[in-house]
Amino acid sequence: MENQSLDPRVNRLQLNPSGEAVTVQDGENWNVFEVFHQEKRGAHHEHVGCVHAPNAQMALIFAKEQFGRRKKCVNIWVVRSADILAFSAEDEDMFANNLEKTYRDASGFKVMEKINKYRKSTRHDEE
């Protein structure tokens, strides 16, 4: 009788020895989910990559194996890639920073200058 061992010291792997052609069908590898992990409580969930899964529950399980097996991770989100809405990469220029946006920045408001000027003027009045 042939020894069926898979031990490479005994037999080479003789699986599927006929070598019959195999074709995977479209959709057989399921859908794509984007994965976001949270490194610690209080931190943002960050995009780390994606997994193939038949549904969101399985995507979570695969995401834990794929992205949570080493570094610290306390939580994971998954969302179907098809459900992500993003700006077109070509529209990048709409984020270009107009340098005259000091009205949006804390540094654009010089409160102390005014206070000092006022103090100086009132002190002058008292003399």
Partner: protein, 332 residues
């Protein structure tokens, strides 16, 4: 592990097709300027069709190499000597499969589905690293793979991680982090045999003798004979020449092997003290081509195992399939 430096392409496509370079010249100039500035290209960006084609080919074959590379090691999990070695080998093999998935995802962002990539692997149309068409006959072979093949792959992957395509770089960043463990556990197992009994040393020497030629093949044919594509270098698809990567590998690892009193089966192997370059006998490049084209000792076996896995996993995948699902490529 395992993006070999050499990425197979169909012979008639090895040179850039001039017509494919006739993309919109203005967009092409913007694209090239962006890469020259060190910026990354993202999936939604305009890119030349030849850039897309070359990247799919590169990343897909890298992915296949990770999956096929797990086969020679996977069979050794139950025979790894000791509990700790078994745990480490299981973890490494799981990492390699994970690398395959990260890379398939990166390739998918360029427009080729994972199913199409797997079909091209199974039909033999798409290749994977040649080293995995050799058998892992003894435990010493597993230590040589874990130490030296992973080391060679790291040289290649660290270079590619500085390339221009964002999703590939991000996948490689994660991969390189895990590879440092592969290298360390392989080195540890290698050293254990090298510093062990005479029988263990003899087993290791035998494995080194058998693996040296495939390792020399790993980075691909010498620069002088490979159709060198300056475009691919300019586009930061190819990040280092085959000879440069091979030299970098030899420079780091040959001294570590010689240090242990082990030998390598090449009498010409030495470092030229003047040029700092390593000299070696030319490996058998006809054999290399023969193995790529299916004539290696394990090509059929590896593909048959892969087909067997697809066939036997099919009922699970089909049972969970939702034919009405709206499927999209990964976003980034």
């Amino acid at each position: 592990m395992y993006g070999g430096g050499y990425i197979f392409d169909e012979p008639n496509k090895r040179q850039l097709n001039e017509e494919q370079l006739h993309d919109d010249p203005e967009k092409l100039a913007d694209f090239e300027a962006r890469i020259a500035r060190g910026e990354k290209i993202e999936p939604g960006d305009w890119m030349p069709s030849e850039y897309r084609r070359q990247l799919i080919r590169l990343i897909e074959q890298h992915a296949h190499s990770e999956i096929m590379g797990a086969l020679p090691e996977g069979t050794w999990i139950t025979r790894a000597p000791g509990f700790k070695r078994k745990l480490a080998l299981i973890a490494k093999v799981q990492d390699e499969i994970g690398h395959g998935q990260l890379l398939y995802n990166a390739a998918e962002t360029l427009g080729k589905s994972r199913e199409a990539m797997i079909n091209d692997l199974l039909s033999g149309k798409s290749k994977y690293s040649n080293v995995f068409n050799y058998p892992a006959e003894t435990w010493a072979d597993v230590t040589v793979i874990g130490f030296l093949i992973d080391a060679a792959a790291i040289v290649n992957q660290v270079a590619n991680a500085k390339g221009s395509y964002g999703p590939y770089c991000r996948a490689l960043e994660r991969i390189c982090y895990e590879e440092s463990f592969h290298l360390k556990q392989g080195h540890d197992a290698f050293i254990e045999l090298a510093t062990g009994t005479p029988a263990q040393r003899a087993m290791l020497q035998d494995a080194l003798n058998r693996w040296w030629q495939p390792i020399m093949h790993f980075f691909g044919p010498p620069d002088k004979s490979s159709v060198h594509s300056e475009k691919l270098m300019q586009w930061k698809v190819k990040m280092a020449s085959n000879d440069d990567m091979r030299n970098q590998f030899l420079d780091t690892y040959v001294p570590k092997i010689w240090d242990l009193g082990l030998t390598l089966p090449d009498e010409k192997l030495r470092k030229d003290p003047d040029t700092g370059k390593w000299e070696y006998s030319d490996p058998d490049w006809d054999l290399f081509k023969k193995v790529i084209n299916g004539g290696g000792p394990c090509n059929q076996e590896r593909l048959n195992v892969r087909k067997w896995a697809e066939t036997h996993g099919r009922w699970v995948r089909k049972a969970l399939m939702n034919p009405k699902d709206r499927i999209a490529a990964p976003v980034a």
